[in-house]
């Protein structure tokens, strides 16, 4: 028989919930983790991992199509979606198995079923009450839609988009944020005709404007269409297609409409409000130490307002575990959480955009290094650049990058931001040639007043 009380009861086994569980277990706490579906949550089963698998298939397809540019006699006969899906599912199932092994190794008690929070400190599952000295809410998020736009048939969200058995010929993507541009990128690589509709004036509007400009230029070259600054007004579907109307009178016909207008917190229906937990427009309200208004009840991940990213969930989960164990961890700096958009080209950033930095510091120094000067990027035939934002007389407070594979440069950028490094700290560390990291190095050299390969 399973124990029904523990130091910690966690509701939801996604990125936030399981990271909290593992870390708490490491620190000697007993942990009960309640999950109604599959350990790993959105990220592993319907989010980060499957999308990145599709994006890699997309890269392979592009390479095959463009091999000639590199002297390779390759050709592309098409996409075998069954093959793509089995590749993707293979990756997921291997990682899923690993995660289950970790839960076991960490001696986390898994409870399968839908849980309801019951105050002051318990979660009920199928009539059994699991009581925790502490409770962590981690029920994540769901794909939102717009008022009057019902999901179904040809109107889909990422959930359905990840399991298509064919490549659509023509798609409209509603929303030019991270998820929207990633799917647009995949489908374009797979040969579809793609149009993105974004109400805000630019793609990836949460990023520095520099990133939007670079990405828009690259998408234009790739033939990905987008309409920005225009609102969606309605969609009607038939047996043969879906028709999307915009505020400006345009009507777009397509096979599919992907609704990627953001994710809503999954905070209703699990007893939160009923038990007196404060909710603000759907998000569970917490202080900077991730405490809800109820004692010993915490919340982590996508149900807490802020960046909706898996590794933010990890970080918050770890934070709460350490907090409960009395380690008094440092409050998380939300701006220090790295952000990567894995479309082609990739967008990666950490710290503040120029606009945000200006607001904070009054004036800032910026520098842009164009990937045209970077040997490895030339070899990859990718365009883009790196923009640094520096506080006056201070450290670098923002890094924004655009280009194929720049997502992997964010590790370095994150240390620089997190440790508040000055260009002068980075400059003496000459980077490996020829890598894309050199572009980052060159940008710091330039800001330190000692440019090496910088074209005026």
């Amino acid at each position: 028989m399973t124990d029904t009380s523990a130091d910690l009861v966690i509701l939801g086994g996604g990125s936030g919930g399981y990271a909290c569980a593992f870390r708490a277990a490491e620190l000697g706490l007993s942990v009960i983790l309640v999950e109604k579906d599959k350990l790993g949550g959105t990220c592993l089963h319907r989010g980060c991992i499957p999308t990145k698998a599709l994006l890699h298939s997309a890269e392979v397809a592009d390479n095959a199509r463009e091999g000639e540019q590199f002297g390779v006699k390759s050709s592309l006969a098409g996409i075998d979606m069954a093959g793509v899906n089995s590749y993707k599912d293979g990756v997921i199932s291997r990682l899923y198995k690993g995660l289950q092994g970790l839960a076991k190794a960490n001696k986390v008690t898994m409870v399968q079923g839908a849980g309801t929070f019951v105050g002051p400190n318990a979660v009920e599952v199928d009539g059994v009450k699991y009581t925790g000295k502490n409770v962590v809410l981690a029920t994540g998020s769901y794909a939102r839609s717009l008022p009057g736009l019902e999901i179904g048939g040809r109107v889909i969200t990422s959930d359905q988009a990840l399991n298509l058995d064919h490549v659509p010929e023509k798609v409209v993507v509603l929303g030019g944020g991270v998820i929207g541009v990633e799917f647009a990128s995949v489908w374009a690589s797979f040969g579809a005709d793609v149009t993105i509709v974004e109400a805000l004036p630019r793609l990836v509007p949460a990023e520095d404007e520099y990133a939007s400009k670079q990405l828009e230029r690259a998408f234009r070259r790739r033939g990905i269409k987008f309409k920005t600054g225009v609102k969606f007004t309605g969609a009607t579907q038939s047996d043969t297609g879906v028709s999307v109307s915009l505020e400006n009178g345009d009507v777009l016909d397509a096979d599919l409409l992907l609704v990627a207008v953001g994710r809503g917190p999954n905070s209703a229906g699990h007893g939160y409000e009923e038990a007196g937990i404060e909710i603000d427009r759907g998000f569970v309200t917490t202080d900077e130490r991730l405490r809800t208004n109820l004692p010993d009840v915490y919340a982590v991940g996508d149900i807490v307002r802020g960046l909706q990213l898996a590794h933010r969930g990890f970080q918050q989960g770890i934070f709460v575990a350490e907090e409960i164990a009395g380690q008094n961890p440092k409050v998380i700096d939300e701006a220090g959480i790295p952000r990567v958009t894995y479309c082609k080209p990739e967008v990666a950033s950490v710290g503040l955009s120029e606009a945000a930095a200006k607001e904070k510091y009054g004036s800032v120094e910026t520098f842009v290094y164009d990937l045209a000067g970077n040997g490895k990027s030339q070899i990859l035939k990718t365009a883009g650049g790196i923009k640094l934002v520096k506080a006056p007389e201070g450290p670098v407070v923002g890094v924004t990058m655009v280009g194929e594979r720049v997502g992997e440069l964010i590790g370095e950028a994150q240390l620089i931001y997190g440790w508040e490094a000055y260009p002068e700290d980075v400059a003496p560390l000459i980077h490996a040639h020829p890598t894309q990291t050199e572009a980052l190095g060159e940008a710091f050299l330039a800001l330190a007043g000692k440019p090496l390969h910088v074209h005026g």
Partner: protein, 52 residues
């Protein structure tokens, strides 16, 4: 400090550590090469606070 020039007192992770611990690097003398303040200097300043 020299005009306009920025002279790091310590390597970034050590500066960050000092900041997190509330240690003012300007009050310390570095024992590292070139007078750089080391992690040990920061830790020592915590262990034995100097009189005002």
């Amino acid at each position: 400090a020299p005009q306009g020039g920025y002279v790091p007192l310590a390597k970034p992770p050590v500066r960050k550590l000092a900041k997190d611990l509330g240690v003012d690097l300007r009050a310390l003398t570095g024992s590292g090469p070139g007078g750089v303040i080391t992690r040990e200097d920061v830790e020592a300043s915590l262990a034995a606070p100097v009189a005002e």
